[in-house]
């Protein structure tokens, strides 16, 4: 009985996230336009700048999993952080007084983040093939379950951040000091084997690195980090963030 209510609660929270996602046409358009820009500008520019250690793949093909990783990171984090908006516009109260546990709200949000990430990733995979990325269909499909796991982890991270922020004021700080470094250090755009020193340390401390490595291995079978390690870190990160997010979100003032 209670279990059924919790499942319905998760469904309700998820459905809301899903509706908000697909109604946001600007965002959907952006989710195609942005990766297209990355492919054409970054891919075109850097690729032309010289053949790098990209495992024999074209630069386009090399960065395709990275761009998907980027999209998953941004989409998931924002979906988690959107709780700040829910709080600001009052809707959070409606969820907080409902007879469902905080865990169910966190799960609903996380599944919402995963759904948005998955749909955007599918669009990007389409864009990737259109610009000439050579990635086996099986590789593209193999990325999908990974996308879900990675997305849950980063939605949970977003929720955790949101639980400690009362207003949107800190938002730019988060963007500049968490999201962008996570993305740039992750090896989405360059082979991490090429880095050294302090930079390498930062790269290997970035959880996103392992997400990108895992995605790239799934897509085209190359990686600098062993896929077993990448997978282990991805799962551990997602599990840990889910616990942290649930605890943080359940705090009461």
């Amino acid at each position: 009985m209670t279990m059924k209510n919790e499942v319905m609660g998760v469904y309700a929270v998820w459905l809301r996230e899903f509706k908000r996602f697909y109604r946001d046409r600007g965002n959907l358009l952006g989710s195609v336009a942005r990766p297209l820009m990355w492919f054409l500008i970054i891919g075109g520019g850097l690729g032309a700048a010289g053949q790098q250690a990209t495992g024999g793949f074209s630069y386009f093909t090399f960065i395709a999993p990275g761009i998907i990783g980027m999209t998953v990171l941004f989409t998931s984090l924002f979906q988690g952080v959107s709780v700040i908006w829910d709080r600001e516009f009052g809707f959070l109260k409606e969820m907080l007084v409902a007879p469902i546990s905080r865990v169910s709200i966190v799960i609903g949000k996380a599944l919402g983040g995963a759904t948005s990430s998955l749909l955007q990733s599918l669009l990007i995979i389409g864009v990737a093939y259109a610009v000439g990325v050579t990635m086996p269909i099986a590789g593209a499909l193999a990325m999908l379950p990974l996308i879900v796991v990675i997305s849950v982890g980063f939605t949970a991270l977003g929720l955790t951040i949101a639980s400690f922020m009362d207003t949107m004021e800190g938002f730019n700080v988060i963007m500049n000091f968490i999201v962008m470094p996570m993305f740039l250090l992750s090896g989405a755009l360059f082979p991490i084997a090429a880095t050294g020193g302090l930079m390498a340390t930062a790269v290997y401390l970035d959880p996103m690195t392992y997400g990108v490595e895992a995605l790239r291995y799934a897509a085209i079978g190359v990686s600098s980090v062993s896929p077993v390690v990448s997978l282990a870190v991805v799962f551990a990160f997602t599990a840990a963030m889910s616990v942290v997010a649930t605890v943080a979100f359940s705090r009461r003032k």
Binding site: K4, N5, M8, G9, Y11, A12, L15, R16, K19, R20, R23, D24, F89, G90, F91, K93, E94, M95, L96, V97, A98, P99, I100, S101, R252, K253
Partner: protein, 339 residues
């Protein structure tokens, strides 16, 4: 064992608070509130802005943690058993809490799902509240296209989709026109009776409180300063008054006559104010006495104290942010032409 203690402590109350306090820093938003509300009551909280009404309700709804004291809903402690408390309550928030990227109907459906209603019940209830709040035609438009009044009505409707044991209404009808308020309250009252819902409400409209509430607590600076039925509260002001506007009331001659005939009367601004038990019955006698004493009466009126008067007397303020304490004595004593 514990259960026995619980029952005797609660004494059949469905909402129980004891020394309930919420502090923000040194400031006590709610300060040692003791309440005991019985099943089926429609209990009103009246107080000026910032009195602590919303904070009190938030603690009862488990969204704000008390600093000290305790509270329970249907015997479930709000701190120890928040989940059980939430299964017993419903609330219409004072502030906006809709998702404006969803349609009105979707907001209601979301609510029904969160509260575990089956599809058939949900669609029937949703149709009924949409009808009540007159949003049938607009149900499938996004809430962001709604006016303020439409949003408020949708919030009220949403609060009535599931039938909780205890329903909190935090200034639900603010800003709505009197007609709408009237039929919403009629529906709420009927629903509460039929489904045995206990209501704890706040409102700025004194007439609403007076008409609806079985009991009322007046709260100011986080403390309850008076509690009773509307009649009990009004009797604090000494019952009803007869107000006679007199010719030449300021002259010593008239003053003397008044004093001799009505030793208990007070003179304000050219009027004589007399406390009586039942104004309507006694006014003719009073007029008779005045005439035989040679007191020239220009105008008569009777006044029953309203909750507004009680409120004004206890807090020194009007409940709405109108300026309080004007020179007009008639305002305090003789609001004209009220029954």
């Amino acid at each position: 064992m514990v259960r026995v203690v619980f029952l005797s402590e609660n004494d059949g109350a469905i909402i129980q608070t004891s020394g309930l306090t919420k502090k923000y820093g040194d400031f006590a938003a709610v300060d040692g509130v003791d309440l005991s509300i019985k099943p089926g009551e429609i209990f009103g909280l009246l107080g000026p802005n910032g009195a602590g009404k919303t904070t009190l309700i938030s603690m009862l709804c488990t969204t704000v943690m008390p600093s000290s004291g305790s509270a329970s809903i249907n015997s479930f402690d709000v701190v120890a058993r928040p989940g059980d408390v939430r299964r017993n309550i419903g609330i219409v928030f004072q502030e906006q809490s809709l998702d404006d990227r969803l349609t009105g109907r979707e907001n209601l459906e979301l609510h029904a799902t969160l509260y575990g209603l089956d599809a058939a019940t949900a669609s029937q209830r949703i149709a009924s509240v949409l009808d009540l709040v007159e949003l049938k035609d607009k149900a499938d438009a996004l809430v962001r296209t709604y006016s303020g009044g439409m949003r408020r009505r949708l919030e009220i409707g949403r609060g009535l989709v599931h039938y909780p044991k205890v329903l909190f209404l935090d200034e639900p009808t603010i800003g709505l026109d009197p007609q709408t308020r009237e039929h919403i309250w009629a529906y709420v009252k009927d629903l509460a009776k039929r489904e045995q819902i206990t209501i704890l409400m706040t409102t700025h409209y004194m007439e609403e409180a007076e008409m609806l509430c079985t009991r009322i607590a007046i709260i100011d600076h986080g403390k309850i300063i008076a509690l009773g039925t509307p009649d009990e509260l009004k009797s604090m002001l000494g019952g009803e008054t007869v107000v006679l506007k007199l010719r030449d009331a300021d002259t010593p001659a008239v003053r003397e006559k008044v004093q001799a005939t009505f030793p208990d009367a007070k003179l304000f601004d050219g009027s004589m104010v007399l406390s009586v038990k039942a104004a309507e019955k006694e006014i003719s006698g009073v007029l008779e006495q005045a005439r035989s004493a040679g007191i020239d009466v220009l105008e008569t009126s009777m006044h029953r104290p309203t909750l507004n008067d009680v409120f004004l007397k206890l807090t020194g303020r009007e409940i709405r942010d109108e300026k309080a304490g004007t020179a007009d004595a008639m305002r305090a004593f003789g609001r004209m032409h009220r029954h």
